[in-house]
Amino acid sequence: MPARKRTSLALSSEQLLQLYEDMSMLRAFDEKVSERCIRGEIPGLIHLGVGEEAVAVGVNAALQPQDKMVSTHRAHSHFLARGADPKAFMAELYGKATGCCGGKAGSMHLADLDIGFLAANGVVGGGLPLAVGAALGLRILNDDGVTLCFFGDGANNNGAFHESLNLAAVLELPVVFLCENNGYGISQSIHKQQRVANVADRAPGYGIPAEIIDGNDVLEVYETVRRAVDKARAGGGPTLIEAKTYRTIGHYVGDSENYRSAEEVAEWQAKDPIVRFEQVMRRKKLLNKALKEEIAARIAVLVEEATDFALHSPFPDPASALSHVYAEGVA
């Protein structure tokens, strides 16, 4: 592993505090979503990002506004980190007309091109080829944007993953493949699904450099992704980064979680990315009890406002179910 150029990647105190606040916001948002899902207000299949916030926030901090993000079925953290409006996002989860996709997307099919968030995905592995294509399209358009492609460990035994890595390598495209390895594809441990220990072990077979990082360390995520993104933007081609993390909640809201032990979950809760970063910030004297409470209060208001907005927004006109099957006009 090359020496870290920490100085060039150093974040200001304000930026560090923002990372803390963003992670806390993601957590609070998804905990509220869980609560409202259990209450029956939010329908459908809901996959939360609780425990994996450092990946989303660290990744986004490494991206520029012109960069694109492609996500997975577990998209909430990515979407919010990229800058989604919490009100329009919550309303989308509620299936309301004011939702960012008019209620047609829900949790798993989110997109907001205005913030460079191209697609979540209901199909495991479905996003990887899209990310390669986004990078290709930007190159055709002479745009220097880099595409960040999230995928889970569950996708690395899928054909789309293998074809996408190879194509990105052959075309030397500016893509960063970011694996959130949370150890499970629904109930199946990664060790039951493959004979290589790491997702990163796949990369050399495609001529792609890879790094394995602690996905619960937001600064390590940021620095590693930043280097890969900078390299891609400079024409250095794709990188695969495997962030080891863990979802401390179930696969979806309502999961029996009968495939893992309480001890294992507790072990990872002790490595909670937000708590760990809070300790870092306290050591740097950038965070204290009063500031923490101030941030928490600010977030609570944002989440409450988003939830109220969603709850009190109207459902879409049923007639809208028939609209926008096709785009209109000339491309």
């Binding site: 694109k68 492609v70 996709c101 008019g102 209620g103 047609k104 997307a105 099919h109 997109a111 907001d112 091109l113 191209l118 697609a119 995905n121 209901g122 199909v123 479905g126 990887l128 080829p129 899209l130 990310a131 390669v132 294509g133 986004a134 990078a135 290709l136 399209g137 930007l138 190159r139 055709i140 358009l141 745009d143 944007g145 595409t147 054909g159 789309a160 074809e163 996408s164 190879n166 194509l167 052959v170 075309l171 809208s320 609209s323 926008h324 099957v325 096709y326 785009a327 209109e328 006009g329 000339v330 491309a331």
Partner: protein, 324 residues
């Protein structure tokens, strides 16, 4: 006007689109120096460079998804998949990804993409290189499905498909590639969803598309010698469908035959008949007929393949039968 083949007409459409719009690019397997299996992209790489005429690995999932992603960010990809039979390998990217973006974003995103694929039998290519799978695509809301039957339409429909903001499945019949005819010069478009009256007649309406259009015209000519006047309607695109043109013709003739190369069950002929029965039942003087392939894969041996393609011969019998 210039006399050229269907493949040359498609080539010219690519050249015009790429010349006019730097966002347009082509990707696929063996499309560069090789010029594509059917020479549709011949000479394009020399003219537009390796970036805009991009040879890819044999990775249909990745290249199809890549075309979708490239369209999402604002470029205008044209993807060549050599045979429609291969779409099974990348089907998720077609029907779950490309087809859904406009809808799932409530119109905030679109996928301006053309996927060109060769379809059709008649050359002894066997079960994996001869099918006509258009009905699959028509069952996916969000996809448009275009199937030109003539060189002039091949060019004009392809230019219209490239202009369209939606994913367009563009199916080229491999038996038509070398067919030559007059093709207008320069840029022109043939609108999607507008059928072509290939022959007028008062007695029987034959609805067809793609490689079945020449069969219908031939049967119409033979029937005319027997005193039966057939109207031949080439749909050009199945989605959007020119239902009004079909209904208008049936209201005139009172008799409908749908003739397609694909196998019968679940074929698009069933959809055409359902629409006519719903809208113009009272005008029908006879029960509508489907003349299509038996429900078998396409066999390799030419005498066996001729059984699959027996539609050609059965069409004239069907015309005689429906007026008797």
């Amino acid at each position: 006007m210039a006399r050229m083949s269907y493949a040359q007409a498609l080539n010219e459409a690519h050249r015009i689109a790429m010349h006019d719009d730097p966002r347009v690019f082509v990707l696929g397997e063996d499309i560069g120096v090789y010029g594509g299996i059917y020479r549709v992209t011949k000479g394009l790489q020399a003219e537009f460079g390796e970036q805009r005429v991009l040879d890819t690995p044999i990775s249909e999932i990745a290249i199809t998804g890549a075309a979708v992603g490239a369209a999402l960010v604002g470029s205008r990809p044209i993807l060549e998949i050599g045979f429609v039979d291969f779409v099974g390998t990348c089907w998720d990217q077609v029907f779950n990804q490309a087809a859904k973006f406009s809808y799932m974003t409530d119109g905030r995103a679109s996928v301006p993409l053309v996927i060109r694929m060769a379809c059709g039998a008649g050359l002894g290519y066997g079960v994996h290189h001869s099918q006509s799978l258009e009905a699959w695509f028509t069952h996916v809301p969000g996809l448009k499905v275009v199937m030109p039957a003539t060189p002039a339409d091949a060019k004009g429909l392809l230019l219209a498909a490239i202009d369209d903001p939606n994913p367009v499945i563009f199916l080229e019949h491999k038996f038509l590639y070398e067919v030559k005819d007059e093709v207008p010069d320069g840029r022109y478009t043939v609108p999607l969803g507008k059928a072509w009256m290939a022959r007028e007649g008062a007695d029987v309406t034959i609805v067809s598309w793609s490689g079945a259009v020449p069969w219908a015209l031939k049967a119409a000519e033979q029937a005319a010698a027997e005193g039966i006047e057939c109207e031949v309607l080439d749909l050009r695109s199945l989605v959007p469908l020119d239902e009004d043109a079909i209904v208008a013709s049936v209201e005139k003739t009172g008799r409908l035959i749908v003739c397609h190369e694909a196998c019968t069950t679940g074929g698009f002929g069933a959809e055409v008949i359902a629409r006519v029965v719903t809208r113009a039942f009272d005008f029908l003087d006879a029960e509508p007929l489907r003349v299509a392939a038996p429900d078998i894969p396409v066999p390799n041996s030419l005498p066996l393949e001729a059984v699959y393609l027996g539609t050609r011969e059965r069409l004239l019998e069907a015309v005689r039968g429906i007026v008797s």
